[in-house]
Structure formats: C-alpha cells, structure tokens
C-alpha cells in the first residue's frame, strides 16, 4: 500500500571505480538487477525501504479486515475481501523483491514481529465506522498511488517490477473507496455526517504518509541520486492534496483545515502536526500495540500449518525415494 519515507543517515560518498561506474549506469537510466555490483548502502537502503513497504501492506490488512464481517452488503463485502487479499499479495511481491537483495523471508518476518521494523504510520489509526473503509480506499490508497507510481521507475529492477503490478491493482482500491464515500454522501444526513467524520480523522494522518518535510528529510538526496526516489516528500504531498481536494468538494465535504486555500494553481494546506507523526512512528499511536499483537497472534496460529506442510513434504519425499 505504501512505503514510509526512511530516516537513514546519508552514507559517505564512495569514490571507488565500481561506485563511479554504478552511478553512471543509474544516470543513464539503466536498471540494476540482483546480481549486479551495487554499493552496500544502496543495498541496505533498498532492503529497508522495500521491507518497510512490505510490512505496511501486511499490517495494512488489519484495519480493513476489521470490517469484512460487518460490510453493509454482499457487494461491499466481496470488494473489501478482494482488496484485503490484494494487500496481502502486494506484501508478498515486495517481500520477494527484498529477498533478491540477500535477506531471508524469515528474517524480514522476524523484524516485523519483534517490533524492530517500521511500517507506515497510517495503519496505527483505528477504523471506527464503515465510512472509514471508504476514507481509507479514497485517501490512504490515493496517497499510496501517488507515492508508488514514481517507484515503478525505481532504479532497482525487482522493486520496479513489483510496483508496476501493485499499481495496476491499486486503482480499484481507490475507486471502491471513493464510491463508498459517494454513496454515504448521497444518503441520509446521518450517513453523510459519518463520511465527514471519517474525512476529518483520516485527512491529516494521510498527509503525514508522505514522510517528513524535505527540510527535515536526511535521506532524500541520496535516494534521489540513486533514482530510488524520483520526487521529494513535499512534492508528492502537494500533488496528492491538489488531486484530492476537488474530489472531496464534489462529495460535498469539507476538509478539517481552516488554512486550506487555492493559490497559484495549488491547494495550499496548513501546518502538519509532526509531533503526532513522530509519536505514532515511534510506536505510540492509537493502535500500534494492537497491530503487532494481531500479527504475532496470526503468525503463532499459523505455526501448526507450516509444521504440517513441512512434515507432509518430508513424508512424500521419503515415499518417493
């Protein structure tokens, strides 16, 4: 669904002939493939970014999974089920891409379950009403698409290929979310109020999804030089706001930002509460503990299945021998 901007220290410049050649390949828009030479820092940055992205997809299944059994109709339920299944699939494409860099799946899963890995701050907010499912599809997936489209041209081949697949599937997510919002906004006053309440709660956390402002983002330069990142956090955030505000107005909703105004062709927004962002990212959001507990529980509950599959495979091999 989305990769949180990283907070990696800027690595020292590598001036070896391999590094120079590597940068020339990047500058020439050549893709880097798993067995090619790459600077250690490039590898580390990618492992961290791709695995955080994968974790976000997997944890992102939880807030929406919360509403599968309570969806208001069979149509909505089938769509939500398909969407949550997609998020699981996206997590798996991304884990596989990270593994091409030499890290094992077990290590990655362990990093998430032990609480060492980060994932997108947005999934630490609760889904209180059905309208939140609409707001997540429209806003969270909308923000994710904004972030992910440039990643389809990322310099690392396996990541770029995974993102192309993800982006193709993601557009259904955003449209189904907007349709939920539209239906609520055309419904009773109570339903419209529900949609407004969801927008009020999700708007600011969605703007935080793009990561810290460029002025405070230490990793941006290196990632841009390596063409892992193509646009800065602030540029993508502005693009998202410009695209989303008119969609909200069409719904007849208002944005929870008194400073929001149209100026020089852009929708300018008020100050973001970065303190809240840091708090949630550091593990102190409304649902951090619940999310990790749910992942650990799921992993523990699946242990017997993995064990049975291993035992069955061993038995079949022994029989065949």
């Amino acid at each position: 669904m989305y990769s949180q901007a990283l907070n990696a220290p800027t690595p020292l410049a590598d001036t070896s002939p391999e590094a120079t050649r590597f940068q020339e390949r990047i500058d020439a828009e050549e893709r880097i493939e798993p067995n090619d030479w790459m600077p250690e820092a490039y590898r580390r940055t990618l492992v961290r970014q791709i695995s955080q992205h994968a974790h976000s997809e997997i944890v992102g299944m939880l807030p929406e999974g919360n509403w599968i059994t309570r969806a208001p109709s069979l149509k909505r339920k089938a769509a939500l089920l398909a969407k949550v299944q997609d998020e699981g699939g996206h997590g798996l494409y991304l884990y596989a891409a990270a593994e091409t860099l030499g890290v094992s799946r077990e290590e990655l899963v362990d990093q998430l379950l032990s609480g060492r890995a980060k994932y997108s701050s947005i999934f630490n907010y609760p889904t209180l009403t059905w309208a939140d499912i609409g707001a997540i599809g429209w806003l969270v997936d909308g923000a994710a698409i904004m972030n992910q489209i440039p990643l389809c041209r990322c310099s690392y081949g396996p990541y770029a290929r995974a993102m192309i697949r993800v982006c193709k599937e993601e557009s259904f997510h955003q449209r189904q979310g907007y349709e939920i919002m539209l239906t609520l906004c055309r419904g009773t006053a109570e339903q419209k109020a529900m949609a407004q309440d969801a927008l009020n709660r999700w708007w600011w956390p969605c703007l935080m999804m793009f990561g810290p402002p460029d002025s405070q983002s230490s990793h941006s330069d290196t990632s841009m030089r390596w063409k892992i990142k193509r646009f800065t956090n602030d540029a993508l955030r502005q693009k998202f706001v410009d695209a989303t505000v008119p969609q909200g107005h069409y719904l007849g909703l208002t944005f929870p930002d008194p400073d929001l105004r149209f100026e020089d062709g852009h929708w300018r927004f008020g100050a973001i509460d970065w303190e809240e962002f840091r708090r949630v990212l550091a593990g102190d959001g409304p649902c951090n503990r619940e999310r990790l507990a749910a992942r650990r529980q799921a992993h523990a509950d699946g242990a017997w299945v993995r064990e049975a599959a291993r035992a069955h495979a061993a038995k079949q091999r022994a029989k065949a021998a």
Binding site: W37, Y93, E99, R161, R165, A300, R306
Partner: protein, 100 residues
Amino acid sequence: MTASPAPEAPIPLWEVFLRARNGLAHKHVGSVHAVDATLALQAARDVYTRRGEGLSIWVVPSAAIVASDPADKETLFEPTGSKIYRHPTFYEVPDDVGHM
C-alpha cells in the same frame, strides 16, 4: 516489547512463470515460498493470478536455476556487437528489386 520465538527453518523459494494465453511463452512473474511443488503451485495461483493473468503456471525451484554471471557479460555478449553482417540491414538490395 516481547521477544518473538526463534526464526523457523527457511521454506524453499520457487520462481513463478505464467502463460498469459496460448500462443505466448511462459514469462517470469515473481517468486513464492513453499515446502513442495503442490503448495508452490497453489501459492503461485493465489498470489499471481487474482485477475485472470494466466492460463498455465510453471513453478521452478529457485535453486535449480543456473544463471550467467553479470561479470561475464562482456565475454558472453560483446562479440555479437561487431557482427553486424548477421542483420538483414547489412546487405544492400536496389530499390528496384522491391521488398525482400
């Protein structure tokens, strides 16, 4: 934070190839982890064909793939660069002869 249990033994990796429709070759689409071929096919079906992407799946143990070394790229592929006489455009045919 509670410590998680020790990591389990790794589950083997498989490469997944899909034939989008008859007439096309199977194309690499990604990888899955599975303990055996049956489960690898099942996982590949679940992960890579949610929207009618294919009519046929191959799964191949990743460890069974032998790949060329990127360091050998020049030795392997450079020699063909100078053999332009292998391409039809190397040969001149007068316009009067027509399409050939």
